[in-house]
Symmetry: C3
Subunit: 278 residues, 3 copies
């Protein structure tokens, strides 16, 4: 059984490996926060590239060490791009992160999210309502997959999504990260709570998306659980540091990217978290 100290060593290792190797983590993602996702990935030492077309999804998956797929602002072409890319990733054994933004809204979103269940994302990142809804949609919990999300906002607490997160991790064999005031990460056996962050993260668009994109960068350099925890800890640390210098959500965002870039491996590993093996 891994102890907290061992986890911290793995976090340090992931952060440093990314800074040394500058891994490419391609994305299929929404147009609202696409710039922020790319800049966050670059800030931690990764490389970013975004695509829409089906053959380019496969192409970027081939060129990448890990991929981030976010189903916000769907365009018609996603109907082919998302499942084809997810299938390729699954078959080639490459880590990928799913961000089931606004799950429950719209026919294509529901169809796509059902389709890619079998391609088992290494990491699923969402807010509590998205995690609960996805677990229902995938019939992993008693509840049906009705939309619980208001637009892109959660209506549930992190606590209430723990069982759904565990069920999703049980299915994928990967990790699930539930974002909220205190973030919850599990791979079905190990669980972590990550503390810190800032209220400003809720006042800017894309803090969740960019966390997903950064989790993909770290997934190139560690297990899904460590990658999700490392990305979450880095965000919580950078956000709490940036908050001290910011005068509002506008100045918070560039300051947050600075702190994400400046955060040392040791400090990310030392960011407050609780760890428990089930």
């Amino acid at each position: 059984m891994a102890g907290k100290k061992e986890i911290q060593e793995q976090i340090i290792c992931a952060v440093e490996k990314v800074k040394e190797t500058n891994p490419l983590a391609g994305s299929i993602t929404n147009t609202v926060t696409i710039n922020f996702v790319a800049n966050a990935q670059l800030a931690v030492g990764g490389s970013a590239a975004m695509v829409y077309l089906p053959d380019e999804g496969e192409g970027i998956a081939q060129a990448s060490k890990a991929v981030y797929i976010n189903v916000g602002t769907l365009l018609p072409v996603y109907g082919e791009t998302v499942p084809r890319t997810a299938k390729f990733l699954h078959e080639s054994g490459k880590p990928w992160v799913l961000d089931p933004v606004a799950v429950g809204m719209g026919n294509l979103r529901t169809k796509l999210l059902k389709q890619i269940k079998e391609y088992k994302p290494s990491i699923i990142r969402g807010n509590a309502s998205e995690i609960i809804t996805l677990a229902g949609l995938w019939e992993l919990t008693g509840s049906a997959g009705q939309q619980r999300v208001r637009g892109v906002d959660t209506t549930d607490s992190v606590e209430s999504a723990k069982a759904a997160a565990a069920a999703l991790a049980g299915w994928t064999g990967g990790a699930v990260a539930v974002s909220g005031k205190t973030d919850f990460i599990t791979d079905g056996s190990a669980c972590a709570l990550s503390y810190g962050g800032s209220p400003y993260l809720q006042m800017i668009t894309g803090s969740g998306c960019s966390l997903g994109g950064v989790a993909a960068v770290y997934a190139s350099a560690s297990s899904p659980f460590i990658a999700a925890l490392t990305a979450t800890a880095a965000f919580n640390l950078a956000a709490s540091r940036a908050e001290k210098k910011a005068n509002g959500p506008g100045t918070f965002q560039p300051l947050f990217l600075d702190e994400l870039h400046l955060a040392a491996a040791n400090d990310i590993a030392a960011n407050k978290f609780e760890f428990e093996e089930v």
Copy 2:
């Protein structure tokens, strides 16, 4: 007849209600400024969600208290999404804001803007040339609907758009906001001029779009006229405050979002404006 004091009380009420209720105002909008629109909506206390697909336009309209539709950077799918969403909004009596960006350019834009005339947007926000061109396109004024816009820039003064604004408001029964050095807002009977702002607003992309998005947020909490005036006053106040701290248009934008977030209801209501009932 409403006096200036009564108007100010309604502005205060709109600002405070938004901060208390965090209303969702979904958008169909262009990819250039989509991030800025969302962050401006969040800055004033609203919630944002953007979509492209037809059924998602209806879905987000259903979930929202008000909707923002901006016809910049049209994609083929907008041909179905925009009229379907506007129709839904009209039939369900939900307030919505139209931003007729670059009206007069391209076949789809012209077709869409003609089509949605009957769905009567609660607020139309544009620069002077857009307002004049739209009124012409909708055959509400003598002039035809030829493009007067250079790219996305106005070639007309706010003053010269007053008659077109009144004609549009007469048709929709809502409000029209003409953005410029001094902003003009009318609902056909009441008129306001809002002062302040900053030359930097013209040096960053999306100051108009984000104003439209914020007007949608306030439209969930007040009449179209008050919503348009509140959003405009908040922008003029925040811009003049941000300008004092900025060294250029780059630093102006995050500082502007800070000030938009920090602006108190009283200060927004006290931002210089002239009011007249016709």
Copy 3:
């Protein structure tokens, strides 16, 4: 033969003419950095407008003094929009800038880039790998057009792309700008190396795209070679100034836009460069 002093006078002239005339330079560009491109164009005194649809590509080309075409994040509609717009630009003799982002990835990108060879872009801007790959794809050099780009990153040095740049300039009769630590600009006979910049340019997404967009703005006011050199010098100057004030890549971006806006024509012309006529 033009001397260095004459080049500097032309740079000053281009910068000042843009500030006086506020030229519209429309773009077809990727969704990742579209906002940054527009804001950079506005910062130097240009005007920006972005489109996706085929007839709007032609419409914006008609309204613009120069156009920027970037093939990142292709959507299906680009298959018609890009060649139609490039053809229009070629036939009307208007300057345009091509940014062959990620050339070599995907079928549509390859097809489009082959198709527009005959429309001879006035300026081609890319990193070293993109320039080498495009010259191969256009069969202007011995090498074939295989992808040498990793995602959107170069795997080659600027030095190694000089022959490909010269071959491309020889074909188009325009200029080619190879971005890297030291930037190389050539029109086939004249060559320049531009110094300065900042490591932060590599840590934010879109420094290359925004450079291309700004080169289009300057192409409305000078020869392709001078436009490419002016844009590059302005970026190198602004980046080195912004770096001194920034604490990381997040704060670097708004500070960079400030400096781009504030840079005087004289200072841009005085930014270190070497010039040689072949």
